[in-house]
Protein backbone atom coordinates (compact mmCIF):
# COMPACT_ATOMS: atom_id res chain seq x y z
CA UNK A 1 0.00 0.00 0.00
CA UNK A 2 2.91 2.30 0.71
CA UNK A 3 3.96 2.12 -2.89
CA UNK A 4 0.45 2.89 -4.10
CA UNK A 5 0.24 5.87 -1.74
CA UNK A 6 3.58 7.18 -2.90
CA UNK A 7 2.60 6.67 -6.53
CA UNK A 8 -0.65 8.59 -6.07
CA UNK A 9 1.18 11.44 -4.32
CA UNK A 10 3.60 11.51 -7.22
CA UNK A 11 0.79 11.72 -9.76
CA UNK A 12 -0.97 14.37 -7.66
CA UNK A 13 2.17 16.53 -7.58
CA UNK A 14 2.45 16.24 -11.36
CA UNK A 15 -1.23 17.14 -11.78
CA UNK A 16 -0.75 20.27 -9.63
CA UNK A 17 2.09 21.54 -11.77
CA UNK A 18 0.31 20.67 -15.03
CA UNK A 19 -2.89 22.21 -13.68
CA UNK A 20 -1.16 25.49 -12.83
CA UNK A 21 0.49 25.42 -16.24
CA UNK A 22 -2.89 25.07 -17.94
CA UNK A 23 -4.32 27.81 -15.74
CA UNK A 24 -1.80 30.21 -17.22
CA UNK A 25 -3.54 30.32 -20.60
CA UNK A 26 -7.15 31.45 -21.05
CA UNK A 27 -7.87 28.64 -23.48
CA UNK A 28 -7.03 25.82 -21.11
CA UNK A 29 -7.56 27.54 -17.75
CA UNK A 30 -10.81 25.74 -16.99
CA UNK A 31 -9.22 22.31 -17.42
CA UNK A 32 -6.34 23.39 -15.23
CA UNK A 33 -8.33 23.66 -12.04
CA UNK A 34 -10.08 20.36 -12.80
CA UNK A 35 -6.73 18.59 -13.22
CA UNK A 36 -5.44 20.01 -9.96
CA UNK A 37 -8.75 19.07 -8.33
CA UNK A 38 -8.43 15.45 -9.43
CA UNK A 39 -4.92 15.37 -8.00
CA UNK A 40 -6.16 16.76 -4.70
CA UNK A 41 -9.04 14.31 -4.48
CA UNK A 42 -6.81 11.33 -5.22
CA UNK A 43 -4.18 12.45 -2.70
CA UNK A 44 -6.83 12.94 -0.02
CA UNK A 45 -8.48 9.55 -0.56
CA UNK A 46 -5.21 7.66 -0.60
CA UNK A 47 -4.16 9.33 2.67
CA UNK A 48 -6.92 7.41 4.47
CA UNK A 49 -4.93 4.27 3.68
CA UNK A 50 -1.61 5.48 5.11
CA UNK A 51 -0.66 2.79 7.65
CA UNK A 52 -0.89 3.30 11.42
CA UNK A 53 -3.37 6.16 11.30
CA UNK A 54 -6.08 6.57 13.90
CA UNK A 55 -8.81 9.08 14.78
CA UNK A 56 -10.71 8.47 11.54
CA UNK A 57 -13.96 9.65 13.11
CA UNK A 58 -12.49 13.04 13.94
CA UNK A 59 -10.83 13.19 10.54
CA UNK A 60 -14.00 12.58 8.57
CA UNK A 61 -15.98 14.98 10.78
CA UNK A 62 -13.39 17.75 10.30
CA UNK A 63 -13.30 17.23 6.54
CA UNK A 64 -17.08 17.24 6.25
CA UNK A 65 -17.55 20.36 8.39
CA UNK A 66 -14.70 22.27 6.75
CA UNK A 67 -15.71 21.31 3.23
CA UNK A 68 -19.33 22.10 3.92
CA UNK A 69 -18.62 25.60 5.24
CA UNK A 70 -16.18 26.39 2.46
CA UNK A 71 -18.42 24.99 -0.26
CA UNK A 72 -21.42 27.05 0.79
CA UNK A 73 -19.49 30.29 1.35
CA UNK A 74 -17.51 29.80 -1.84
CA UNK A 75 -20.63 29.25 -3.93
CA UNK A 76 -22.56 32.12 -2.38
CA UNK A 77 -20.00 34.90 -2.38
CA UNK A 78 -20.47 37.63 -4.96
CA UNK A 79 -17.86 37.88 -7.69
CA UNK A 80 -16.82 41.28 -6.39
CA UNK A 81 -15.94 39.79 -3.01
CA UNK A 82 -13.60 37.17 -4.44
CA UNK A 83 -10.37 38.82 -3.26
CA UNK A 84 -11.26 38.59 0.41
CA UNK A 85 -12.43 34.99 0.00
CA UNK A 86 -9.04 34.10 -1.45
CA UNK A 87 -7.45 35.81 1.53
CA UNK A 88 -9.71 33.89 3.90
CA UNK A 89 -9.10 30.44 2.39
CA UNK A 90 -5.41 31.20 2.18
CA UNK A 91 -5.40 32.04 5.87
CA UNK A 92 -7.07 28.70 6.58
CA UNK A 93 -4.24 26.93 4.76
CA UNK A 94 -1.62 28.85 6.73
CA UNK A 95 -3.46 28.00 9.93
CA UNK A 96 -3.53 24.33 8.98
CA UNK A 97 0.23 24.31 8.34
CA UNK A 98 0.79 26.02 11.69
CA UNK A 99 -1.48 23.53 13.45
CA UNK A 100 0.45 20.62 11.93
CA UNK A 101 3.63 22.20 13.25
CA UNK A 102 1.99 22.56 16.67
CA UNK A 103 1.02 18.88 16.75
CA UNK A 104 4.53 17.81 15.75
CA UNK A 105 6.26 20.17 18.16
CA UNK A 106 4.06 19.07 21.05
CA UNK A 107 4.85 15.47 20.16
CA UNK A 108 8.57 16.21 20.25
CA UNK A 109 8.05 18.00 23.54
CA UNK A 110 6.23 14.99 25.06
CA UNK A 111 8.89 12.53 23.88
CA UNK A 112 12.19 14.30 24.47
CA UNK A 113 14.10 11.04 24.18
CA UNK A 114 12.79 10.20 20.72
CA UNK A 115 15.45 11.24 18.25
CA UNK A 116 14.36 13.93 15.86
CA UNK A 117 16.75 15.54 13.43
CA UNK A 118 17.82 19.11 14.01
CA UNK A 119 16.87 19.97 10.42
CA UNK A 120 13.36 18.59 10.92
CA UNK A 121 13.00 20.62 14.09
CA UNK A 122 14.19 23.82 12.44
CA UNK A 123 11.84 23.38 9.51
CA UNK A 124 8.90 22.62 11.80
CA UNK A 125 9.55 25.86 13.70
CA UNK A 126 10.10 27.85 10.50
CA UNK A 127 6.91 26.50 8.96
CA UNK A 128 5.08 27.29 12.18
CA UNK A 129 6.11 30.97 12.14
CA UNK A 130 5.34 31.44 8.46
CA UNK A 131 2.04 29.59 8.63
CA UNK A 132 0.88 31.43 11.73
CA UNK A 133 1.79 34.88 10.38
CA UNK A 134 0.03 34.00 7.13
CA UNK A 135 -3.01 32.87 9.11
CA UNK A 136 -3.51 35.95 11.27
CA UNK A 137 -2.30 38.30 8.52
CA UNK A 138 -4.74 36.88 5.99
CA UNK A 139 -7.60 37.18 8.44
CA UNK A 140 -6.79 40.87 8.90
CA UNK A 141 -6.59 41.29 5.13
CA UNK A 142 -9.98 39.61 4.86
CA UNK A 143 -11.47 41.89 7.52
CA UNK A 144 -10.10 44.95 5.75
CA UNK A 145 -11.45 44.02 2.34
CA UNK A 146 -14.76 42.98 3.85
CA UNK A 147 -15.01 46.48 5.30
CA UNK A 148 -14.86 45.39 8.93
CA UNK A 149 -11.60 47.22 9.49
CA UNK A 150 -11.86 50.50 7.69
CA UNK A 151 -8.76 52.40 8.58
CA UNK A 152 -5.13 51.55 8.37
CA UNK A 153 -4.21 51.55 12.04
CA UNK A 154 -1.04 53.36 12.88
CA UNK A 155 0.43 54.29 16.21
CA UNK A 156 3.69 55.84 17.35
CA UNK A 157 6.75 53.58 17.46
CA UNK A 158 4.86 51.05 15.36
CA UNK A 159 7.92 49.83 13.49
CA UNK A 160 9.79 49.38 16.77
CA UNK A 161 6.90 47.47 18.36
CA UNK A 162 6.60 45.22 15.30
CA UNK A 163 10.32 44.63 15.33
CA UNK A 164 10.18 43.74 19.03
CA UNK A 165 7.41 41.21 18.42
CA UNK A 166 9.32 39.78 15.49
CA UNK A 167 12.48 39.44 17.55
CA UNK A 168 10.55 37.82 20.41
CA UNK A 169 8.94 35.34 18.00
CA UNK A 170 12.30 34.45 16.50
CA UNK A 171 13.80 34.16 19.99
CA UNK A 172 11.09 31.76 21.14
CA UNK A 173 11.52 29.77 17.92
CA UNK A 174 15.26 29.48 18.38
CA UNK A 175 14.75 28.38 21.98
CA UNK A 176 12.32 25.64 20.88
CA UNK A 177 14.56 24.44 18.07
CA UNK A 178 17.95 24.55 19.79
CA UNK A 179 17.35 24.41 23.55
CA UNK A 180 14.23 22.43 24.37
CA UNK A 181 10.69 22.21 22.96
CA UNK A 182 9.02 23.29 26.17
CA UNK A 183 5.20 23.40 26.08
CA UNK A 184 5.00 26.85 27.66
CA UNK A 185 7.50 28.30 25.21
CA UNK A 186 5.68 26.65 22.29
CA UNK A 187 2.40 28.24 23.40
CA UNK A 188 4.05 31.61 23.85
CA UNK A 189 5.74 31.22 20.47
CA UNK A 190 2.43 30.75 18.66
CA UNK A 191 0.80 33.66 20.48
CA UNK A 192 3.72 35.92 19.55
CA UNK A 193 3.58 34.81 15.90
CA UNK A 194 -0.19 35.38 15.76
CA UNK A 195 0.21 38.87 17.20
CA UNK A 196 3.04 39.67 14.82
CA UNK A 197 0.87 38.69 11.83
CA UNK A 198 -1.86 41.04 13.03
CA UNK A 199 0.50 43.94 13.78
CA UNK A 200 2.31 43.56 10.48
CA UNK A 201 -0.90 43.70 8.42
CA UNK A 202 -2.88 46.32 10.33
CA UNK A 203 -0.94 49.39 9.16
CA UNK A 204 -1.11 48.40 5.49
CA UNK A 205 -3.67 50.38 3.51
CA UNK A 206 -6.43 48.73 1.51
CA UNK A 207 -4.89 49.77 -1.80
CA UNK A 208 -1.90 47.56 -1.08
CA UNK A 209 -3.95 44.53 -0.06
CA UNK A 210 -3.57 42.69 -3.41
CA UNK A 211 0.19 42.59 -2.95
CA UNK A 212 -0.19 41.51 0.66
CA UNK A 213 -2.64 38.70 -0.13
CA UNK A 214 -0.35 37.45 -2.86
CA UNK A 215 2.56 37.54 -0.44
CA UNK A 216 0.67 35.57 2.20
CA UNK A 217 -0.36 33.10 -0.49
CA UNK A 218 3.31 32.50 -1.27
CA UNK A 219 4.12 32.26 2.44
CA UNK A 220 1.42 29.66 3.05
CA UNK A 221 2.91 27.67 0.19
CA UNK A 222 6.32 27.78 1.86
CA UNK A 223 4.88 26.83 5.25
CA UNK A 224 3.16 23.85 3.63
CA UNK A 225 6.43 22.84 1.96
CA UNK A 226 8.34 23.03 5.28
CA UNK A 227 5.73 20.98 7.11
CA UNK A 228 5.96 18.57 4.17
CA UNK A 229 9.64 18.07 5.03
CA UNK A 230 8.68 17.42 8.64
CA UNK A 231 6.02 14.86 7.71
CA UNK A 232 8.24 13.46 4.99
CA UNK A 233 5.57 13.99 2.37
CA UNK A 234 6.82 14.73 -1.14
CA UNK A 235 3.45 15.89 -2.47
CA UNK A 236 3.32 18.64 0.16
CA UNK A 237 6.93 19.65 -0.49
CA UNK A 238 6.40 19.95 -4.23
CA UNK A 239 2.98 21.61 -4.18
CA UNK A 240 3.99 24.00 -1.40
CA UNK A 241 7.25 24.99 -3.06
CA UNK A 242 5.63 25.49 -6.44
CA UNK A 243 3.08 27.82 -4.87
CA UNK A 244 5.78 29.56 -2.86
CA UNK A 245 7.80 30.28 -6.00
CA UNK A 246 4.84 31.16 -8.21
CA UNK A 247 3.32 33.33 -5.49
CA UNK A 248 6.59 35.18 -4.93
CA UNK A 249 6.85 35.96 -8.63
CA UNK A 250 3.25 37.11 -8.76
CA UNK A 251 3.83 39.34 -5.75
CA UNK A 252 6.85 40.87 -7.47
CA UNK A 253 4.90 41.47 -10.68
CA UNK A 254 2.18 43.23 -8.75
CA UNK A 255 4.53 45.38 -6.72
CA UNK A 256 6.35 46.27 -9.93
CA UNK A 257 3.10 47.33 -11.56
CA UNK A 258 2.65 49.79 -8.70
CA UNK A 259 6.28 50.81 -8.99
CA UNK A 260 6.76 50.19 -5.30
CA UNK A 261 9.25 47.72 -3.86
CA UNK A 262 7.66 45.10 -1.62
CA UNK A 263 9.55 46.44 1.38
CA UNK A 264 7.81 49.74 0.76
CA UNK A 265 4.39 48.09 0.78
CA UNK A 266 5.10 46.26 4.02
CA UNK A 267 7.00 48.87 5.95
CA UNK A 268 6.22 52.15 4.19
CA UNK A 269 3.25 54.18 5.14
CA UNK A 270 1.37 54.70 1.93
CA UNK A 271 -1.48 57.09 2.40
CA UNK A 272 -0.43 58.36 5.78
CA UNK A 273 0.03 62.11 5.69
CA UNK A 274 2.79 62.27 3.11
CA UNK A 275 5.88 64.25 3.96
CA UNK A 276 5.83 66.24 0.73
CA UNK A 277 3.78 69.34 0.28
CA UNK A 278 0.46 68.70 -1.42
CA UNK A 279 0.54 70.20 -4.86
CA UNK A 280 -1.99 72.97 -4.74
CA UNK A 281 -4.91 72.01 -6.92
CA UNK A 282 -6.09 74.62 -9.36
CA UNK A 283 -9.45 74.67 -11.08
CA UNK A 284 -12.72 73.32 -9.86
CA UNK A 285 -14.80 70.19 -10.00
CA UNK A 286 -17.35 70.54 -12.80
CA UNK A 287 -20.42 68.34 -12.49
CA UNK A 288 -22.37 67.02 -15.47
CA UNK A 289 -25.81 65.46 -15.90
CA UNK A 290 -26.18 61.87 -17.05
CA UNK A 291 -28.06 62.86 -20.20
CA UNK A 292 -25.35 65.27 -21.29
CA UNK A 293 -22.67 62.69 -20.66
CA UNK A 294 -24.68 60.22 -22.76
CA UNK A 295 -24.77 62.66 -25.68
CA UNK A 296 -21.04 63.21 -25.43
CA UNK A 297 -20.34 59.52 -25.68
CA UNK A 298 -22.96 58.65 -28.28
CA UNK A 299 -21.50 61.17 -30.70
CA UNK A 300 -17.91 60.25 -30.01
CA UNK A 301 -15.83 58.17 -32.36
CA UNK A 302 -13.85 56.45 -29.71
CA UNK A 303 -14.58 55.88 -26.03
CA UNK A 304 -12.23 54.22 -23.57
CA UNK A 305 -13.70 53.00 -20.30
CA UNK A 306 -11.40 52.88 -17.28
CA UNK A 307 -12.92 50.76 -14.51
CA UNK A 308 -11.73 50.72 -10.92
CA UNK A 309 -12.71 49.36 -7.56
CA UNK A 310 -15.74 51.67 -7.47
CA UNK A 311 -17.24 49.67 -10.33
CA UNK A 312 -16.85 46.50 -8.31
CA UNK A 313 -18.45 48.06 -5.25
CA UNK A 314 -21.40 49.32 -7.26
CA UNK A 315 -21.67 46.00 -9.15
CA UNK A 316 -21.94 48.15 -12.24
CA UNK A 317 -20.09 45.91 -14.70
CA UNK A 318 -23.27 44.52 -16.30
CA UNK A 319 -24.80 47.96 -16.79
CA UNK A 320 -21.55 49.34 -18.14
CA UNK A 321 -21.37 46.58 -20.74
CA UNK A 322 -25.04 47.13 -21.63
CA UNK A 323 -24.23 50.79 -22.17
CA UNK A 324 -21.16 49.90 -24.21
CA UNK A 325 -23.20 47.65 -26.47
CA UNK A 326 -25.58 50.53 -27.17
CA UNK A 327 -22.62 52.74 -28.03
CA UNK A 328 -21.17 50.06 -30.29
CA UNK A 329 -24.52 49.83 -32.10
CA UNK A 330 -24.24 53.56 -32.62
CA UNK A 331 -20.89 53.03 -34.31
CA UNK A 332 -18.71 54.13 -31.42
CA UNK A 333 -15.40 52.35 -30.93
CA UNK A 334 -15.53 51.23 -27.28
CA UNK A 335 -12.52 49.83 -25.46
CA UNK A 336 -11.75 48.96 -21.87
CA UNK A 337 -8.43 49.97 -20.33
CA UNK A 338 -7.29 47.97 -17.33
CA UNK A 339 -4.58 49.22 -15.05
CA UNK A 340 -2.51 46.39 -13.57
CA UNK A 341 -3.51 47.29 -10.03
CA UNK A 342 -7.07 48.42 -10.68
CA UNK A 343 -9.38 46.87 -8.13
CA UNK A 344 -8.15 44.85 -5.24
CA UNK A 345 -6.20 42.22 -7.17
CA UNK A 346 -4.40 42.08 -10.47
CA UNK A 347 -6.93 40.94 -13.00
CA UNK A 348 -9.82 41.76 -10.66
CA UNK A 349 -11.39 44.02 -13.28
CA UNK A 350 -10.86 41.46 -16.02
CA UNK A 351 -12.74 38.89 -14.00
CA UNK A 352 -15.65 41.27 -13.44
CA UNK A 353 -15.80 42.33 -17.08
CA UNK A 354 -15.64 38.70 -18.15
CA UNK A 355 -18.55 38.02 -15.81
CA UNK A 356 -20.54 40.74 -17.54
CA UNK A 357 -19.71 39.21 -20.92
CA UNK A 358 -17.25 41.76 -22.28
CA UNK A 359 -15.19 39.98 -24.98
CA UNK A 360 -11.42 39.76 -24.60
CA UNK A 361 -10.68 41.78 -27.69
CA UNK A 362 -12.19 44.91 -26.15
CA UNK A 363 -10.06 44.72 -23.01
CA UNK A 364 -6.56 46.17 -23.06
CA UNK A 365 -3.59 46.41 -20.73
CA UNK A 366 -1.93 49.66 -19.82
CA UNK A 367 0.93 49.19 -22.30
CA UNK A 368 -1.39 48.28 -25.15
CA UNK A 369 -3.74 51.20 -24.86
CA UNK A 370 -1.92 54.11 -23.30
CA UNK A 371 -0.99 55.71 -26.63
CA UNK A 372 -4.61 55.54 -27.78
CA UNK A 373 -5.86 58.04 -25.24
CA UNK A 374 -4.39 60.77 -27.46
CA UNK A 375 -6.92 59.92 -30.17
CA UNK A 376 -9.82 59.24 -27.84
CA UNK A 377 -12.86 61.47 -27.66
CA UNK A 378 -14.16 60.41 -24.27
CA UNK A 379 -12.43 58.59 -21.44
CA UNK A 380 -15.10 57.29 -19.06
CA UNK A 381 -13.64 56.65 -15.63
CA UNK A 382 -15.80 54.61 -13.34
CA UNK A 383 -14.67 54.12 -9.79
CA UNK A 384 -10.98 54.49 -10.59
CA UNK A 385 -8.86 57.22 -9.06
CA UNK A 386 -5.18 56.78 -8.29
CA UNK A 387 -4.51 54.80 -11.48
CA UNK A 388 -5.41 57.84 -13.59
CA UNK A 389 -3.90 60.51 -11.35
CA UNK A 390 -1.39 62.55 -13.38
CA UNK A 391 0.57 63.54 -10.25
CA UNK A 392 2.18 60.11 -10.60
CA UNK A 393 3.96 61.64 -13.60
CA UNK A 394 4.38 65.20 -12.45
CA UNK A 395 4.91 65.48 -8.71
CA UNK A 396 8.00 63.79 -7.28
CA UNK A 397 6.74 64.44 -3.75
CA UNK A 398 3.58 62.42 -4.27
CA UNK A 399 3.47 58.98 -2.67
CA UNK A 400 2.36 57.50 -5.99
CA UNK A 401 5.05 59.29 -8.02
CA UNK A 402 6.56 56.98 -10.60
CA UNK A 403 3.65 54.56 -10.69
CA UNK A 404 2.69 54.00 -14.35
CA UNK A 405 -0.77 55.41 -14.91
CA UNK A 406 -3.39 55.29 -17.63
CA UNK A 407 -3.12 58.55 -19.57
CA UNK A 408 -6.82 59.30 -19.40
CA UNK A 409 -5.94 62.98 -19.12
CA UNK A 410 -4.75 62.87 -22.75
CA UNK A 411 -8.28 62.17 -24.00
CA UNK A 412 -10.25 65.08 -25.42
CA UNK A 413 -12.91 64.73 -22.75
CA UNK A 414 -12.95 62.91 -19.47
CA UNK A 415 -16.09 61.83 -17.65
CA UNK A 416 -15.65 60.59 -14.11
CA UNK A 417 -18.36 58.57 -12.39
CA UNK A 418 -17.73 58.93 -8.70
CA UNK A 419 -19.78 58.46 -5.60
CA UNK A 420 -18.84 61.74 -4.03
CA UNK A 421 -16.12 64.30 -3.69
CA UNK A 422 -13.02 63.24 -1.85
CA UNK A 423 -9.70 61.63 -2.42
CA UNK A 424 -9.01 58.09 -3.61
CA UNK A 425 -7.97 55.07 -1.64
CA UNK A 426 -4.48 56.42 -1.13
CA UNK A 427 -5.89 59.69 0.14
CA UNK A 428 -4.25 61.70 -2.63
CA UNK A 429 -6.11 64.50 -4.37
CA UNK A 430 -6.59 63.72 -8.08
CA UNK A 431 -5.71 66.71 -10.25
CA UNK A 432 -7.33 65.03 -13.24
CA UNK A 433 -10.73 65.70 -11.68
CA UNK A 434 -10.00 69.42 -11.70
CA UNK A 435 -8.83 69.56 -15.31
CA UNK A 436 -10.65 71.78 -17.79
CA UNK A 437 -11.81 68.88 -19.95
CA UNK A 438 -13.05 66.77 -17.05
CA UNK A 439 -16.68 66.50 -16.00
CA UNK A 440 -17.85 64.80 -12.83
CA UNK A 441 -20.88 62.53 -12.84
CA UNK A 442 -21.69 62.14 -9.16
CA UNK A 443 -23.58 59.08 -8.00
CA UNK A 444 -23.58 55.34 -7.55
CA UNK A 445 -21.88 53.55 -10.46
CA UNK A 446 -24.86 51.39 -11.30
CA UNK A 447 -27.42 54.20 -11.16
CA UNK A 448 -25.22 56.43 -13.29
CA UNK A 449 -24.69 53.66 -15.83
CA UNK A 450 -28.48 53.32 -15.94
CA UNK A 451 -28.81 57.06 -16.49
CA UNK A 452 -26.31 56.86 -19.34
CA UNK A 453 -28.20 53.94 -20.92
CA UNK A 454 -31.44 55.94 -20.68
CA UNK A 455 -29.72 58.97 -22.16
CA UNK A 456 -28.35 57.03 -25.12
CA UNK A 457 -31.67 55.29 -25.77
CA UNK A 458 -33.53 58.58 -25.80
CA UNK A 459 -31.37 60.07 -28.49
Amino acid sequence: MDNVTEAIYFVAAALFILGLKRMSSPRSARDGIVWAGIGMLAATIVTFFVPHLANFGLMVAAILIGSGIAFVTGKRVAMTDMPQMIALYNGMGGGAAAAIAAVELLKMSAQPNMPHGQVTMNLAVLGAVIGTVSFSGSLIAFAKLQGWLRKALRFPMQQAVNLAFFAATVGAGVYIAFVTPDVVVITLFFILALTFGVLMTIPIGGADMPVVISLYNALTGLAVAFEGFVLNNAAMIIAGTVVGAAGSLLTQLMAKAMNRPISNVLFGSFGSAGGGEEESVTGSLKPIEGSDAAVMMAFAEKVIIVPGYGMAVAQAQHKIWEMSKLLIENGVDVKFAIHPVAGRMPGHMNVLLAEAGVPYDRIFDLDEINEEFNTTDVALIIGANDVVNPVARSNPDSPIYGMPILNADHAKNVIVIKRGQGAGFSGIENILFYADNTRMLYGDGQEMANALIQGIKEL
Binding site: L20, L249, H348
Partner: protein
Protein backbone atom coordinates in the same frame (compact mmCIF):
# COMPACT_ATOMS: atom_id res chain seq x y z
CA UNK B 1 6.62 3.83 7.60
CA UNK B 2 7.09 5.40 4.23
CA UNK B 3 10.71 5.62 3.22
CA UNK B 4 12.22 8.81 4.44
CA UNK B 5 13.41 11.42 2.00
CA UNK B 6 17.04 12.17 2.75
CA UNK B 7 18.06 15.75 3.44
CA UNK B 8 19.89 16.32 0.21
CA UNK B 9 17.20 14.83 -2.03
CA UNK B 10 14.65 16.97 -0.19
CA UNK B 11 16.79 19.96 -1.07
CA UNK B 12 16.83 18.89 -4.72
CA UNK B 13 13.05 18.52 -4.71
CA UNK B 14 12.76 21.97 -3.19
CA UNK B 15 15.04 23.55 -5.79
CA UNK B 16 13.41 21.89 -8.80
CA UNK B 17 9.90 22.61 -7.56
CA UNK B 18 10.84 26.26 -7.03
CA UNK B 19 12.05 26.53 -10.63
CA UNK B 20 8.93 24.76 -11.85
CA UNK B 21 6.70 27.18 -9.95
CA UNK B 22 8.58 30.15 -11.33
CA UNK B 23 8.49 28.91 -14.92
CA UNK B 24 4.87 27.87 -14.83
CA UNK B 25 3.70 31.35 -13.92
CA UNK B 26 6.27 33.35 -15.89
CA UNK B 27 4.16 33.68 -19.05
CA UNK B 28 0.78 34.38 -17.49
CA UNK B 29 -1.29 37.17 -19.05
CA UNK B 30 -2.52 39.81 -16.60
CA UNK B 31 -6.15 38.77 -17.07
CA UNK B 32 -5.41 35.44 -15.43
CA UNK B 33 -3.53 36.79 -12.42
CA UNK B 34 -6.46 36.62 -10.02
CA UNK B 35 -7.68 33.18 -11.11
CA UNK B 36 -4.10 31.94 -10.96
CA UNK B 37 -3.56 33.32 -7.48
CA UNK B 38 -6.76 31.59 -6.50
CA UNK B 39 -5.64 28.41 -8.22
CA UNK B 40 -2.30 28.36 -6.44
CA UNK B 41 -4.21 29.04 -3.23
CA UNK B 42 -6.12 25.84 -3.97
CA UNK B 43 -2.93 23.89 -4.67
CA UNK B 44 -1.47 24.58 -1.23
CA UNK B 45 -4.66 23.00 0.06
CA UNK B 46 -2.55 19.81 -0.19
CA UNK B 47 -1.81 20.73 3.42
CA UNK B 48 -4.97 18.67 4.01
CA UNK B 49 -2.94 15.51 3.45
CA UNK B 50 -0.43 16.58 6.10
CA UNK B 51 -3.18 17.59 8.49
CA UNK B 52 -4.81 14.17 8.12
CA UNK B 53 -1.50 12.44 8.84
CA UNK B 54 -0.82 14.68 11.84
CA UNK B 55 -4.30 14.01 13.25
CA UNK B 56 -4.03 10.33 12.44
CA UNK B 57 -0.84 10.03 14.46
CA UNK B 58 -2.04 12.15 17.38
CA UNK B 59 -2.37 10.23 20.62
CA UNK B 60 -2.88 12.99 23.21
CA UNK B 61 -6.06 14.98 23.61
CA UNK B 62 -4.32 18.25 22.80
CA UNK B 63 -2.84 16.64 19.71
CA UNK B 64 -6.25 15.44 18.62
CA UNK B 65 -7.87 18.83 19.19
CA UNK B 66 -5.19 20.72 17.27
CA UNK B 67 -5.12 18.03 14.61
CA UNK B 68 -8.88 18.31 14.25
CA UNK B 69 -8.57 22.02 13.60
CA UNK B 70 -5.70 21.43 11.20
CA UNK B 71 -7.89 19.12 9.10
CA UNK B 72 -10.85 21.49 9.37
CA UNK B 73 -8.87 24.52 8.20
CA UNK B 74 -7.09 22.56 5.49
CA UNK B 75 -10.38 21.20 4.14
CA UNK B 76 -11.69 24.78 3.98
CA UNK B 77 -8.58 25.86 2.11
CA UNK B 78 -8.87 23.05 -0.44
CA UNK B 79 -12.62 23.13 -1.03
CA UNK B 80 -13.02 26.90 -0.84
CA UNK B 81 -10.03 27.41 -3.10
CA UNK B 82 -11.44 25.00 -5.66
CA UNK B 83 -14.96 26.44 -5.67
CA UNK B 84 -13.81 30.04 -5.99
CA UNK B 85 -11.27 29.30 -8.73
CA UNK B 86 -13.75 27.20 -10.66
CA UNK B 87 -16.36 29.95 -10.52
CA UNK B 88 -13.90 32.52 -11.81
CA UNK B 89 -12.67 30.35 -14.65
CA UNK B 90 -16.21 29.39 -15.56
CA UNK B 91 -16.80 33.00 -16.55
CA UNK B 92 -13.80 33.03 -18.79
CA UNK B 93 -15.13 29.98 -20.56
CA UNK B 94 -18.56 31.46 -21.13
CA UNK B 95 -17.22 34.74 -22.43
CA UNK B 96 -14.93 32.95 -24.84
CA UNK B 97 -17.74 30.81 -26.16
CA UNK B 98 -19.97 33.80 -26.62
CA UNK B 99 -17.24 35.42 -28.64
CA UNK B 100 -16.73 32.38 -30.82
CA UNK B 101 -20.39 31.69 -31.28
Amino acid sequence: MIETISGISALYIFMLAAFAGYEVIAKVPVILHTPLMSGSNFVHGIVLVGAMIALGHATTTSGQVIGFFAVLLAAMNAVGGYVVTERMLEMFKSSKEKKNG
